[in-house]
Amino acid sequence: MTEEMVHPFAKYLREAMMPHIWCPGCGNGIILNCFVQAIDELQTDLDKVVVVSGIGCIGRTAGYVNTNSFHTTHGRPIAFATGVKLANPELEVVIISGDGDLFAIGGNHFIHAARRNIGIKVICANNFNYGMTGGQQGPTTPLEALTTTSPYGNIEHPFNLVHLAAASGATYVARWTALHVRRLTQSIKKLLQKEGFGFIEVVSPCPEIFGRYNKMRTGLEMMEWFKRASMVENFSDPVKAEITPEKIVVGEFVDIEKPSYERLLHEKIAQINEKALKEMSQHAI
């Protein structure tokens, strides 16, 4: 009799949703693995976790994790998650979505959630393009990169996501690549334990859709770029945290304490509620 082998993380995944849709060499599986590893190490109560994703390849993550999960319209996971977190602050609300979803169509929601410092945690897979729709240029596409909609080389300046997050008020900001598996896992653990709005950018390989136009046809070639170019510069100025063919600045950039929106809100509600109660009982007399 052979015993059935069960993966130690099987309980975190919905088997019915497998096989996943991701291409060979994609970094999304690594990000999912690091996330699952983090909640496993933290012994997080899965009933209290809500994973929210938008549209895009990594947007399918919400369906794959065996938690409460919601797959929103394109660009809206942060706005949806805001409602969830305020309605039930005990829930650990994590957004796992892509650069196009979070920073092009959903950019407005990102900066405002960070400004409010609402306690939702955002993990962004930055693969430099719109993978699911076939590789169009997006808000993080590097200058001169070739995509299906920048066939002569991209002339738009890409967002520096860690700078944007820091400037918008996030209490925790980090960037890793899909190569930094251990650091990313530790970083996600830290992210989940922070109060307020936290953000991790994961530079992720997309060889099938992005790499093929940019002289990196395999996942390995993209990972070699990450290995060659990555420089860990913890708590360096996020303004200077560039992503170029020569250099990818990774590390933690922001780790500060600030009361979360939901804490301030619920404290205020409790205060006003109590006052209203008092006034009512006085009227009753």
Partner: protein
């Protein structure tokens, strides 16, 4: 705080927007997300003050897209949730109204209509969003829309909107005329125990047996919420009963979309409300809704004084459209008169239901609502 303390029982003098906000509170709404816009802002302002007093949440979002998304999130986290807006914001909400339809999130959307298109006339009334309320988001679906005619109805129908929304797990829209929103009138709030409040059906099976989108006999699936131990998935993609995406199955698409439509269509008799005035022997019937119905009522009474057999069918429910009620009056009247503050929207539905009976449309744009005399004149000419 006791329910008694929360609900402002008794007689009040208030405006329509405030009555709507108090109706929401009475219906146990505890989450409001919105964005300032004339002429719906007073709803947000009133709830910004009132919600914390009763332990509820008010948040001003960055836009109406986010407001609607946050409302769905709060609904999935277990609260009754609403937003309020006007035409331009209603347009932005359409995307996530579709998401609420697809994920069957109970929620209420108040659209205080103003003149459009685009920025239009922010402070003037219009009934130009009637078709948008039904067809504004892409794809095939059914929603519920109610049209209050008075400040009292702003209160009553807001509660009704929540009840319908919770019963059928469908976004329910309160389509309000600017005049009704800003008008001050007497509102009587009955004792709480006399007010019917409906809450969504919860699953009565253990989590391992819960199938999140498996409908009951009424075609509505019981709803678990995040954090209750049911750990399920919901998506805007076409999905099976388990909530899992099935994007290339025609069978799943047909089953899902048909059920989303049928849960409203097949329950239409339970949902639809109209008011019939002097219709029994009416030869000319006026079909109207919102503030215009009040001018129409006055016109019908004046017509009767002049010996004209006129009657009024006031539509309280606009969607699903009261087809049966309109076709019934079409069979007995010579003419149907439809006054609307637009270029002809709900009149198309009236024509469709009236079949052979001629329908006369009176348009009004960019000014105050129809006067009773204007409607009376149309009734007289067609009697």
């Amino acid at each position: 705080m006791t329910k008694k303390g929360i609900v402002l029982e008794g007689a009040h003098f208030m405006n329509g927007d405030v009555a709507c906000a108090e109706g929401a509170i009475t219906a146990s709404c505890r989450f409001f997300a919105g964005y300032p816009i004339t002429p719906a802002t007073e709803i947000a302002e009133h709830l910004a003050k009132r919600m914390p007093e009763i332990g509820g949440i008010y948040i001003q979002m960055e836009d109406e897209i986010a407001s609607m998304a946050a409302v769905i999130g709060a609904s999935y986290a277990g609260l009754k949730a609403m937003t309020a807006t006007s035409g331009p914001g209603f347009s932005l909400m359409q995307e996530n109204i579709g998401l609420a339809v697809m994920t069957e999130a109970p929620c209420v959307i108040v659209d205080v209509m103003r003149g459009g298109p685009s920025t239009g006339q922010p402070t003037l009334p219009g009934q130009q969003d009637v078709m948008q309320a039904k067809w504004g988001s892409h794809g095939d679906y059914e929603i519920v829309a109610l049209a209050p005619s008075s400040v009292q109805e702003m209160f009553d129908l807001t509660i009704e909107a929540f009840n319908l929304s919770e019963t059928y797990r469908v976004p329910t829209i309160l389509l309000v005329d600017e005049v009704v929103a800003h008008m001050w009138e007497k509102v009587v709030i009955p004792p709480v125990e006399k007010i019917k409040i409906v809450n969504r059906n919860k699953p009565n099976v253990p989590p391992e047996k819960y199938i999140p989108f498996m409908p009951g006999d009424d075609l509505v699936p019981p709803m678990a919420c995040f954090g209750e131990g049911y750990g399920f998935h919901a998506t805007g993609l076409t999905h099976d009963e388990h909530g899992y995406p099935q994007t290339s199955s025609s069978e799943v698409q047909q089953k899902l979309v048909k059920r989303l439509c049928d849960k409203i269509r097949l329950n239409a008799d339970k949902i639809i409300r109209v008011e019939e005035v002097m219709l029994k022997d009416a030869e000319v019937a006026v079909v109207a809704y919102g503030i215009v119905a009040r001018a129409a009522l006055s016109a019908v009474r004046k017509a009767r004084e002049k010996g004209i057999k006129a009657g009024l069918l006031r539509l309280i429910t606009l969607w699903p459209f009261p087809e049966k009620q309109v076709s019934k009056i079409a069979k007995q009247s010579k003419t149907i008169v439809v006054p609307e503050m637009n270029c002809g929207q709900l009149v198309r539905e009236v024509e469709r239901s009236a079949k052979e009976t001629p329908v006369v449309f009176i348009s009004k744009l960019g000014e105050e609502p129809h006067t009773p005399m204007e409607i009376l004149e149309a009734v007289r000419r067609n009697s």
